[in-house]
């Protein structure tokens, strides 16, 4: 194909929208960038070394591509037609030749002979002119834009099928100086964007060329660069905090992301509240500020809250405006704190103990029962768990544990939890403490929903850990019992998260409990026992791979040798991950895979396993038998001590004898007695050394 020089241009696409939900913007921005890049690549329009940059604010998603070819390169295509003998009779073209030439758009004289494996055919070389980028983008981009994924979307034009997160209001599409004539949802693209609603007003923000984008909008009080906006918010938070001696704002990554995507032109002001509210629990204050008001909390050098907050504005104001906005925010916060204090004091009038009965009116699950029922069930499970670990040397305050389970759900009846549902458990713990129920009871109730995610910490105390285990396994078992097990992507009761938490608690606590112990404690009738156990094993596999980062083959190998004891599985996975690096070990893994294959073949052919002691073995076979017999007790002893690393090193020393065995010995010997002895020998080796992991699962290079 001939090489020609095609002019390059820059391309800008901006989709202007009504305010997009903050939580959806980052994903959509990235996806739009991907879709534009893929489209340009697919259409051979992306120049080498092209630079793709994405931007977003609540009102816009944008992509700037520096290095778009203004048209596709011309190309040649080879078409194959009818067989040569059909197309030309005695050197003269037939109707078939003429039809093919017409279809290909070439003269009959230009037809060529093509020879391939099947014979001789008529061929034609067709030149295809590259299409202009502008034309291609105009036809292809609308599909890409309307194909963006949104967690929620809407209709907005009467009688029109398109759905999007919010109505599309304007489109900028520029290829260098020219508007790309595309239309999406009835909106024609142009070169006019819009600025900040208030600071810039309704005048259009016109752009001459794509690379003007960032600067043109900056002049219209819109910072389209997300990273720059994030940075400016962090700096502004720092600056506002410096007005209070020794203070610092409390780091809150998710909140930063939210305010980054709620603002086009962020600034920050510091507000204050009355010190009397600092008597309320910090958890309540921070929840009001962060979750309800999107304020950052401010703390002193000792980490304790100070009576200030920071709010990120979507505007730049003068001193008067600042005073007005501060005043307004302070008023809202004061009213919320006042409510919280009212609830806090009101709730204390009825103790947690006196609330137990009212749990009968709080539904846990329609088909199962109330939280009163749930509490009774949890008690049964926790008693079984406590009995299992009795005498295992865990310092457990059983009285406090039982009390904590009894009262764990009572905070669901408090006004404060009704107002701040995200604080369930935490509020119960705080009330338990205030009502003098003891630190062990309070802490267990406080921690009961931990870990909330795989990154979250587990409950601090064994009582809290057991409460968390009992509550979750009871839920899982009961839900499985009424057919609510998760399927595919559907897990409406978040049972996977509950099971992940069980695995994590077992992994990171000192509780001498296995998955099997936990399942047994919950299965009074044992009806779903096996289904639940399989579910937990699958979650353990997820935990090892996705949370702890072990390779999938290591996890498969380890779990094949035992998936009950979580901490033991982790220890084995660690040892195996280190061991697999050695050449000897890789060879042993390969050998074990071979052994497994041979045994499977033997079984398929109906070959019986014999004993190596019954025949006279070849020297290499005898050496393997001797080495294995010698090593087996050593490995077993190391395994018992959980010295898995050393055990695996010991197994790796088998390599020379194993290699020699496979080198010299024909395992499937025609003599049934010898064959049986060989099979018996390798079966013994396999079983004797697979207790830590099934090495045959290890993928070797």
């Amino acid at each position: 194909m001939q090489k020609e020089l095609i002019a390059m241009a820059d391309f800008l696409l901006e989709i202007g929208l009504d305010e997009v939900p903050a939580r959806m913007i980052a994903g959509a921005e990235a996806e739009l960038g991907r879709r534009v890049t893929d489209l340009l690549t697919r259409e051979r329009l992306l120049a080498d070394g092209a630079k793709v940059t994405t931007y977003s604010t609540p009102r816009r998603l944008a992509v700037l591509v520096e290095g778009v070819l203004v048209s596709q390169a011309d190309s040649e295509e080879q078409l194959t037609g009818p067989s040569w003998n059909v197309a030309f009779k005695d050197g003269a073209p037939t109707k078939a030749a003429e039809a093919f030439a017409k279809k290909a758009g070439v003269a009959v004289a230009a037809l060529e002979k093509v020879t391939n494996a099947k014979g001789e055919y008529v061929g034609a070389t067709v030149k295809r002119l590259g299409r202009a980028a502008s034309e291609l983008l105009a036809t292809e981009l609308p599909k890409e834009v309307l194909g963006l994924y949104w967690a929620n979307n809407m209709y907005w034009r009467a009688g029109k099928p398109e759905r999007f997160v919010r109505p599309i209001r304007w489109i900028v599409a520029l290829l260098d100086l020219a508007v790309v004539p595309l239309e999406i949802a009835g909106i024609q693209a142009g070169n006019a964007s819009r600025g900040h609603r208030v600071l810039h007003g309704s005048a259009a923000v016109l752009m001459d060329q794509p690379t003007d984008y960032v600067e043109a909008l900056r002049k219209a009080f819109v910072n389209v660069d997300v990273a720059a906006r994030r940075q400016s918010i962090r700096k502004a938070l720092d600056a506002a905090t410096r007005t209070v001696t020794g203070a610092r704002w409390r780091e809150d990554e998710p909140l930063i992301e939210t305010v980054v995507h709620l603002t086009e032109w962020p600034t920050v002001i510091l507000g204050n509240f009355e010190t009397e509210y600092l008597d309320l629990p910090e958890e309540v204050l921070v929840t009001v500020m962060r979750d309800h008001q999107k304020y950052f909390a401010v703390e002193g050098p000792d980490g304790k809250l100070l009576p200030h907050f920071l709010t990120v504005l979507n505007i730049q104001v003068d001193a008067e405006g600042e005073a007005v906005i501060r005043h307004g925010n302070q008023k809202v916060l004061r009213a919320r704190f006042k409510d919280a204090r009212f609830f806090w004091e009101f709730d204390q009038k009825i103790s947690l103990q006196d609330r137990v009965e009212s749990l009968k009116n709080v539904t846990f699950q329609k088909e199962l029962g109330s939280y009163f029922w749930k509490t009774e069930q949890n008690l049964v499970v926790v008693r079984a768990l406590a009995a299992t670990i009795k005498g295992a040397g865990v310092d457990l305050d059983v009285g406090s544990l039982i009390k904590a389970i009894e009262l764990a759900k009572t905070d669901l009846t408090t006004e404060l939890v009704k107002e701040f549902t995200e604080l369930q458990g935490v509020i119960g713990g705080l009330y338990a403490k205030a009502q003098g129920l003891g630190q062990n009871v309070a802490q267990a109730i406080y921690d009961q929903y931990k870990p909330a995610s795989t990154e979250d910490a587990i409950p601090k105390t064994p009582e809290g850990q057991l409460l968390g285990l009992a509550d979750r396994i009871q839920t899982i078992n009961a839900m499985f019992g009424i057919g609510n097990a998760p399927t595919g992507s559907k897990d409406p009761f978040a049972l996977r998260r509950a099971a992940n938490a069980i695995v994590k608690i077992l992994a990171e606590s000192d509780l001498p409990l296995t998955l099997g112990d936990v399942v047994r404690a919950s299965s009074v009738e044992g009806a779903n026992g096996e289904q639940v156990a399989a579910f937990l094993r699958e979650r353990l596999s997820f935990f090892l791979k996705d949370v702890r980062g072990f390779a999938y083959d290591v996890v498969n190998a380890v779990l094949a040798a035992g998936a009950d004891d979580v901490r033991d599985a982790i220890a084995r996975a660690k040892a195996l991950t280190e061991a697999r690096e050695s050449a000897d070990f890789a060879a042993i893994s390969a050998a074990f895979k071979r052994i497994k294959n041979i045994l499977r073949q033997a079984e398929e052919k109906g070959f019986a396993l014999g004993s190596p002691k019954d025949v006279t073995l070849a020297p290499e076979a005898q050496q393997l038998a001797d080495a294995a017999a010698l090593l087996a007790p050593e490995v077993a002893a190391l395994r018992k001590l959980r010295f898995y690393g050393q055990a695996l090193e010991a197994i790796a020393t088998l390599r020379p004898v194993v290699d020699a065995f496979f080198d010299k010995v024909m395992v499937l010997d025609p003599d049934p007695a010898i064959r049986g002895a060989h099979l018996g020998l390798i079966d013994e080796v396999l079983r004797g050394f697979s207790g830590i992991a099934d090495f045959s699962e290890i993928v070797t290079g």
Partner: protein, 318 residues
């Protein structure tokens, strides 16, 4: 024209409660909206008034604004809480279909009531609305000003279980909250409702409504006769069901005359459903509905609302 020329400059003296309503009505009337009076049956929100619930159905464009007293029995606080009311007033606006500059119009309405947007922090924060008892939902925002929600802004997608086409924009201004914010008072009861232009004497929100809040709280939480409420509920529901059964028969009947269809009292049927909804709220405030009953009750009201919506749509298209 509108009364707005007669009002004081909002930049110096904040509007009274009634002036706020005048300004909003004036602003939207000037933009072609029908101004309606409050609906005279108890509702929990402006959405439930037929000017919204029924008018959003079907293809006919409509623009309407009205102040709707909205009753939420469980929210009553005997007049003791400065921010919570049994009955508050929503200025409800329906724009069907929504104009392309609906957000800009909304911002202009804020300026019209004296809010200088250059001195406030305004954000549109995601808040999707769902009304399970009326089978309605939409996507939209809570409009936040200086950390306070001043308006609920929803693009209605479905109502009475029916997809809307065209959709509409629903703007709900909480008048008490907005006015307390603008007048900078800590308690809604201190909001100036009216000011005598000659003497400057003021009548406050408390003067007008405090006794009502107290007495209705007593009724809602203490005096309402639970067994009578159930009886009322069942009676209204039964009558509504009877009418709906007739409506279903009528609108499915190809032989039925246009006149007969047009005169069918579907609007009155809807009113019976609204009665049920209010009685449900009262029963709830009395603590008379267990959690398990709750779901069932919501389903019963929803059935009526969805039935009415279907019949109304059939009536309109017939």
């Amino acid at each position: 024209m509108t009364s707005s020329q007669l009002l004081p400059n909002p930049k110096t003296i904040p509007l009274t409660f009634q002036e706020l309503l005048f300004r909003l009505q004036g602003f939207w009337a000037e933009r072609g909206c029908v101004l309606q009076q409050p609906y005279d049956v108890e509702v929990g929100a402006g959405t439930m008034a037929p000017e919204t619930f029924l008018r959003v159905l079907g293809p006919r464009p409509y623009k309407v604004g009205y102040a709707q007293p909205s009753r939420r029995p469980a929210d009553g606080r005997y007049g003791e809480n400065p921010n919570r009311l049994f009955r508050h007033t929503q200025f409800q606006l329906i724009l069907k279909p929504p104009p392309v500059n609906v957000q800009e119009l909304y911002l202009q309405s804020l300026e019209a009531i004296g809010i200088d947007l250059s001195k406030h922090d305004l954000k549109f924060e995601e808040d999707n609305w769902e009304g399970p008892t009326v089978g309605a939902w939409g996507v939209g925002w809570q409009v936040m000003m200086d950390g306070m929600e001043i308006t609920q802004f929803t693009y209605f997608q479905q109502c009475g279980g029916l997809d809307l086409d065209p959709i509409c924009a629903e703007l709900t201004y909480g008048l008490e909250r907005l006015c307390a914010f603008m007048q900078d008072v800590d308690s809604v009861y201190d909001v100036v409702w009216a000011r005598d232009p000659d003497t400057g004497a003021v009548v406050t929100y408390g003067d007008v409504r405090l006794a009502e809040e107290l007495q209705y709280s007593v009724y809602n939480f203490e005096s309402a006769d639970v067994s009578k409420l159930w009886e009322h509920f069942n009676l209204y529901e039964a009558e509504a069901q009877t009418l709906l059964t007739q409506a279903n028969g009528l609108f499915a009947n190809a032989e039925a005359s246009v006149v007969e269809k047009r005169r069918f009292p579907i609007m009155s049927t809807y009113e019976l459903a609204l009665k049920c909804s209010n009685l449900f709220n009262l029963l709830d405030a009395r603590g008379a509905i267990s959690v398990t009953e709750r779901v069932g009750m919501i389903g019963r009201i929803r059935n009526l609302a969805v039935g009415v919506a279907k019949a109304y749509a059939a009536q309109q298209s017939g």
